[in-house]
């Protein structure tokens, strides 16, 4: 049986060893490691949280945070997760029109989120929050910057999938491929759920 396996793997995708698609298995492994990346960035942010006040070294979070911007961008990203599951459901039913519609809408909502972050960073920078200015600046920009980069890459990925559906390679856009892109997209959303609570919401209560 083992010789059978190796014979197949020479010219085809190797057979999945766990009875699940290798791509999806590998992608969950990547997400598990990305968990640790964001875990450490969030832990770093929290370790230094509020310590600038000890040195009298502003600006502090509440000097800068904008309630409206955060609310809108949070809703925007949350809704993009909904359009993403609808895209996965559409390709599962073989509905190419809806797949394109929801993929495009997800990418658009993602781009809007990145736009809000660009606005936020610019605004914060002009208000005096520098990457090397204080602990809040360093930890905030690195954490939300890594998240924003993830969103940006997700938008590019979704647009590539969308573009592929219009080419002669459209058979490559399978349920599995859209689902894995969706896994990435939802992961970026859940990271924001955590950042939104620990970085923004906590500032207004504790």
């Amino acid at each position: 049986m083992s010789s059978d396996h190796s014979a197949v793997s020479v010219h085809e995708h190797p057979p999945p060893s766990f009875g699940v698609p290798n791509l999806k298995l590998a992608f969950w492994l990547f997400l598990a490691s990305d968990c640790m990346l964001f875990g450490s960035l969030i832990a770093t942010y929290l370790s230094y949280r509020g310590k600038d006040q000890l040195f009298g070294n502003g600006p502090y979070p509440l000097d800068l945070f904008s309630v409206e911007v955060t609310t809108i961008s949070t809703f925007d990203l949350l809704m993009s997760s909904v359009t993403m599951v609808l895209a996965v459901a559409a390709i599962q039913r073989g509905n190419m029109f809806q797949t394109r519609l929801w993929l495009g809408l997800t990418a658009l909502l993602g781009a809007i989120f990145v736009g809000f972050q660009g606005y936020e960073f610019t605004h914060f920078y002009l208000e005096g929050l520098k990457l090397q200015g204080n602990l809040f600046g360093s930890t905030f920009y690195v954490l939300t910057g890594f998240h924003g980069t993830h969103v940006t890459l997700g938008v590019v990925w979704l647009l590539l999938v969308l573009a592929t559906t219009f080419t002669k390679h459209k058979n490559m856009v399978t349920h599995l491929n859209v689902e894995v892109a969706g896994l990435y997209w939802h992961f970026v959303d859940i990271v924001w759920i955590v950042i939104f609570t620990l970085v923004y919401l906590m500032e207004y209560t504790v």
Binding site: A32, M36, G39, S47, S81, T197
Partner: protein
């Protein structure tokens, strides 16, 4: 079962590995997520206040709904859970430990007088206090002033409990300035100036007004102690 059979089965696996979640379930989850987010943002607009614990719970619920329903981790093959969940728990544990260790949600003004950090308090108290009437020896320099003001409280003890967190166990500085040299950031290092700084604090720094916490007697004692450290004038 031959090798060929098992391969054919695995190859078709992605087509029917789990029943697809219905659109109405997705929309239901979307509605719940929206409602939870509306509840969360209440404190931002000061409609009401939510404590940290309800906020964390709401966030965990939203997180779980997206992971288990949108990402299909719930109905999907168990292998994905085995990969993702331990890593997620490890990351969560790390965040929690750091949060507790560094007092992420402790206000700065509460931190300054937390004092007993890293066991500073366990060290033996340095000999500074000279009993009234026996003001010879070391106290000769401080002389009359010191004897006149000598309080019943041990200034070194007060310093060790309240000041070492910022000024260091030997008062040689840390977050706050060194108190043993002749350089003074605030005032000129006279006993009266030190007492003023202790009473009023220094705006914009972690040096708060200590009068409400220590009271007059302890303030005088610790001022005397700081004055005696070598930088006093």
């Amino acid at each position: 079962m031959s090798g060929h059979d098992s391969h054919a089965h695995a190859g078709g696996h992605d087509e029917h590995e789990h029943k697809p979640t219905s659109i109405s379930t997705y929309l239901g989850v979307a509605a719940v997520l929206t409602v939870l987010t509306v509840i969360e943002i209440g404190p931002l607009f000061q409609w009401y206040n939510l404590g940290p614990v309800p906020l964390l719970v709401l966030s965990v619920v939203k997180f779980a709904m997206v992971v288990f329903i949108f990402m299909h981790l719930g109905p999907d093959e168990p292998i994905y859970k085995k990969i993702f969940v331990p890593s997620l728990l490890l990351a969560g544990l790390m965040v929690t430990v750091m949060m507790l260790l560094f007092g992420s949600f402790t206000r700065a003004e509460q931190m300054a007088y937390k004092g007993p950090v890293l066991g500073y308090v366990a060290a033996p108290p340095p000999k500074v206090e000279t009993p009234e009437g026996e003001a010879g020896g070391d106290a000769a320099a401080g002389g009359a002033e010191q004897v006149a003001a000598a309080p019943a409280v041990d200034g070194a003890e007060v310093f060790k409990t309240n000041c070492v967190a910022c000024h260091g166990p030997e008062a040689k500085g840390g977050v706050g300035p060194n108190l043993t040299d002749a350089e003074w950031k605030n005032g000129s290092g006279t006993l009266a100036d030190i007492e003023t700084t202790l009473n009023k604090g220094v705006t914009g720094t972690a040096m708060i007004s200590w009068t409400p916490i220590l009271g007059d007697e302890k303030i005088k004692a610790v001022a005397l102690y700081v004055h005696s450290l070598g930088g006093g004038k």
